[in-house]
Symmetry: C2
């Protein structure tokens, strides 16, 4: 049903009223964007967005991404007004309070209708690229009958100025993601003031240069908005719609200025806005006729869903799509057979290589895995025989050439995982996890199964030197809540890490992998990495020392243990592939591995800060400075990570 502006204007004002009242009640928040974009959002949600408020998880819905997440009241208002179960008006009244799902920024884990958590600028748009990739991929695999929807984004000047925008726009243009439409809140205002303070960019020119379709509209003219959105939807390229808006539109004395961006309007200005808008209802009350208009605005979406349900019931592929969308793994992931092959022939390879071998097995059995690399395919060993390139000509491909865009890659992975139906993995060098660090954090915050393949994980990469040698990275990734960080020691631990990463559907994983070859240290099929740490070598003499190590330093620890045993000192070696899983074990298991009466020594080619958690006042062997450029053996010697240099330090402590 198409409504004219006499119906639409009061509907948009309902958004404005809720936004200004909620922010005022919280005495905190951002009224400027919801009020400025209320008209555009009203047109989008009533005339374009395919959705059914009764089924927020319907897989073929259009996705709406509020990249400018500070304007959270926009999406809370839209979800409530159109009739979603969550948020309730009570939630909106308690905007930004600890017991409300209406958090300061929209959180996907609090409200089903919120597709993703936004707030860190640029990432909503960059995740939307992943949503649009997922749609085209599943469309290619399951057909138009089951998968055929659009991704709509509301973005602000901040989103377009952040570097990640460049990466996301470049990726979307290259991949020709025509189902992606970005509505830019072109209000000429940033927090510091007029946008001309910090940018003179011809934004439409830049998007055009990246292969996008661009158009503009008056963001307060309903017909013009509809014209522009129709044009964007029809164009085969990704579209940017510059919506010229007045920030805080409706607040007569403050609109158009930067002070309306992030602070309550105040009682006087709210009264003036009510007058200006002709809005006579009490705070948090919506007149029945306006609410009725909103509540019937998704009829086209409801009908589309009913049609879809019919088609799905008749489609033999529906069950497979449903499995993937639910995030359940296939019965056989290929893990068991692969582990047996490793036991039969234990390889001496780099863990980046054993990761590739594991990926060959998993990608052959788990069709929802979609891989890629930020231009380091041959170094990250992320491409397998099962994963053909994902290109505009073949969206059914399962391997993405992300280009030199680490942050854009990680955000796109989040978007694919959040869309559902895909388990994304992607690679870069561990040191460049810095470039995408906040997207890794957003994986963890949003509870998504994104799997990061971070290779070249220490000074062991050798000659490329300190800019490329991670020192603090493994430990600093361990600090991110809800993130599994694996640093496997050989091919079996690497396979286990992959299996655990795949099995943890509600959290992301990092695999830190070596460039250099490592000897096998494990020869059995028990899933030991699931406990995060385990005794790899038991002392033969009375145990005096427990050596804890990860990844490439497990080999070093085994040499140290052997040297200590030769001197009659009993030494265990505990491999610690995943701290977070170890921390989840019971006290008895931990005490058994780390007995109070032994000297505990950690060995890891990274910062020692943090290891005190396990070794107490024992020894931590590591690297607390930047690395250096040299062949690997020279570096391990230089930084004291050899048995020859470690053993005397232990002897001086136990004697």
């Amino acid at each position: 049903m198409t409504r004219d502006s006499t119906a639409l204007a009061p509907m948009a004002n309902a958004i404005r009223a809720l936004a200004m009242d909620a922010v005022q009640a919280a005495n905190s928040g951002h009224p400027g964007m919801p009020m400025g974009m209320a008209d555009v959002a009203t047109v989008l949600w009533t005339q374009f967005l395919k959705h059914d408020p009764a089924a927020p998880k319907w897989s073929d819905r259009d996705r709406f991404i509020l990249s400018a997440g500070h304007g959270s009241m926009l999406i809370y208002a839209l979800l409530h007004l159109t009739g979603y179960e969550s948020p309730t008006m009570e939630d909106i009244r308690k905007f930004r309070q600890i017991d409300s799902v209406c958090a300061g920024h929209p959180e996907n884990f609090l409200i089903p209708g919120v597709e993703c958590t936004t707030g860190p600028l640029g990432q909503g748009l960059a995740m939307a690229v992943g949503f649009a990739m997922a749609e085209r991929h599943l469309n290619a695999q399951f057909g138009d009958d089951l998968v055929d929807h659009h991704t709509w984004v509301v973005a602000g000047d901040g989103c377009l100025m952040e570097g990640i925008n460049h990466e996301a726009v470049g990726l979307a243009g290259t991949l020709k993601l025509g189902r992606l439409n970005v509505l830019w809140d072109d209000n000429k205002i940033t927090i510091d003031g007029d946008t001309s303070l910090s940018t003179n960019e011809d934004i439409l020119g830049r998007y055009t240069a990246s292969g996008w379709h661009v158009t503009s509209c008056d963001g307060h003219d309903f017909a013009d908005i509809a014209r522009a959105l129709a044009e964007a939807k029809a164009d085969p390229r990704p579209s940017l719609v510059a919506c010229r808006t007045v920030i805080g539109k409706g607040a007569p004395n403050k609109q158009g200025g930067h002070n309306v961006h992030g602070a309550p309007l105040g009682a006087d200005e709210i009264a003036a806005a009510r007058e200006y808008l002709g809005w006579t209802s009490a705070p948090f009350e919506i007149p029945a006729d306006i609410l009725a208009n909103w509540r019937t605005s998704a009829e086209a979406g409801k009908a589309a869903r009913a049609e879809w349900e019919k088609r799905a019931a008749a489609n033999p592929q529906s069950a497979e799509l449903a499995r993937r969308m639910a995030g359940d793994l296939p019965a056989d992931t290929g893990f068991d057979a692969y582990i047996q092959s490793l036991i039969a022939t234990p390889p001496k390879v780099a863990t980046r290589k054993s990761s590739e071998m594991a990926l060959e097995a998993f990608t052959a059995n788990v069709p929802e895995m979609v891989g890629g690399s930020a231009d380091l395919t041959g170094s990250n060993n992320t491409k397998t025989k099962s994963t053909a390139p994902f290109t505009p000509e073949s969206y059914d491909g399962r391997y993405v050439y992300y280009g030199i865009r680490e942050f854009g890659m990680a955000a796109a992975m989040n978007g694919m995982a959040l869309h559902g139906g895909i388990i994304p993995y992607g690679g870069t060098f561990l040191v460049f996890s810095d470039y995408c660090r906040n997207a890794v954090r957003m994986s963890a915050l949003q509870h998504v199964r994104a799997i990061y393949v971070f290779t070249h994980d220490s000074i062991g990469l050798g000659e490329d030197g300190p800019t490329h040698q991670p020192v603090e990275h493994v430990m600093s990734l361990r600090m991110i809540p809800n993130l599994l960080v694996f640093r496997p020691a050989d091919a079996i631990e690497t396979a286990e890490a992959w299996a655990l990463a795949l099995a943890n559907k509600d959290r992301p994983s990092v695999l830190a992998l070596t460039r250099q070859n490592l000897p096998p240290v494990r020869f059995d099929a028990e899933m030991k990495s699931a406990k995060g740490a385990y005794r790899l070598v038991s002392s033969s003499a009375a145990r005096k020392v427990v050596l804890l190590a990860t990844g490439s330093e497990v080999e070093v620890a085994m040499k140290v243990a052997a040297a200590l045993e030769e001197k009659g000192l009993g030494a265990d070696v505990v491999s610690v592939p995943c701290w977070e899983l170890f921390d989840e074990q019971d006290a008895a298991y931990k005490a058994d591995l780390l007995p109070a009466d032994a000297l505990k020594v950690s060995i890891e080619a990274g910062v020692t800060l943090g290891w005190q958690k396990y070794v107490g006042d024992g020894l931590s062997i590591g690297i607390d400075t930047f690395g250096a450029s040299a062949p690997i053996d020279a570096l391990y010697d230089h930084f004291g990570l050899t048995a020859e240099k470690i053993v005397p330090q232990i002897l001086s402590r136990v004697s």
Copy 2:
């Protein structure tokens, strides 16, 4: 002296020979870029770059930034051939060995002629923006006679695809940095293969949209290169020169392919290249006539320097410029008077506000301080009365509106610091340190005095919720080597942190500052923060407990201590504003603060992992999950960071 192509071609081939021979000897490295860009570099260094090999630190030299740092042999060859003292041919022979200054990537701290460390893609170009800003700023302050030079950049496809490129290009375009010229190695190849695999961007169109001048040239036609560089130099806008090159030019069977990017050519191909180039000398030998041509190529630069020295000797401002370039602070930074004012009237303000107060004092007395914010000026409290805006119309301004470009800001700060004559500081929210994390790491690696003002440093920011609440950030910044991380507790500690950050000329600092008000806890002028940690409150009863806290939690620790004392339990409070400085104290000082026989308890509104270093098997009170959206008091209670919730935990441990 202008040379024709009959002289230039062998000179360029000398670069190619050194690059392929050094990479072959190291059996590691990147020959493709130096060989591809040898012709462009030869024209630049012989006809455009103003430099004097005898004076690598001459302040008015042109700056040459090898943003594509993996092609390090290009700059090593250029420095050696033109006659710089470092690197020697012996250094080049030992390329990528532990005792050579010719590291895998160029390091500013190893070779005086290397302006900055490069390798992390995009950052060289983004630092170059800072160099160009510094040049214009000092020019505005000291005049054409003393400061009048250009910044030249060699960048590859990777540098142009990274998100930071977008930020750097936008900033340079907005600021109209016409002295910045970027030579793009347009070779159509990335590591994964042809650039069309991952990008379809019209790069010249994008740069034009950002206000840049663009031109192209045949990167193997000396005259065309010279034409393009002259055009770039003359244009008042920043310039991008697309140099169409063949990667690995000179290796007849491998040139133009992506396999020549990052691996030795091999003996056979090197022999073929010698044949192809007509290069008959032995490895690491340069024919005398070619070397003589190189060694006389900087005559114009030498003459320019002689002229400059004459002008400088006659210029009354030279001493002040020299002081700033040396990085020495003025005799009075304003610190002492400001501390006395705080003692007279201890304010209860947020540390972001006390940072602003300190900045008012310091910026009034230290003219080389140039501040800014990534569009959070009013939140970061970074602007002072002494710092007028830095704009194209007034480059003498000392406050940069960086826009929503955290990574670009941090890299530009590095560039300004490395240029010399400026002490840059810049602000964003602490959580968005993630966005610029690798640039902070590069500050530390390069030993530069960049000062980061990271406000909103915990859940204490309240309603904006988990996307904006740093939890792991303070600790993970402490993991970066050579970085001072301050988290001051009140106005006096904040002033001390600023004074220490300014005094540490060879390392960067982070100030983590609160949004919320904090009561004063210090009332004396002794520079206690210099030791990193100090006893703020001494127990009155026999000491059983030592409470360690930072920033906003010092107030909490004082309440806990008071409650313990009421129960007859002696408790010290140790304020720990800077771990790194505390770690540098002697063992006696540490043992006195953290006696073995006391229960040690840390209180910090962030992850507990790491605190075990100081508290051993004591208690760590903190937040090991993401935050939440609510008013501050509700959050501190929810996360257990109140005396009421902490005291019982301590009592159960000491009883």
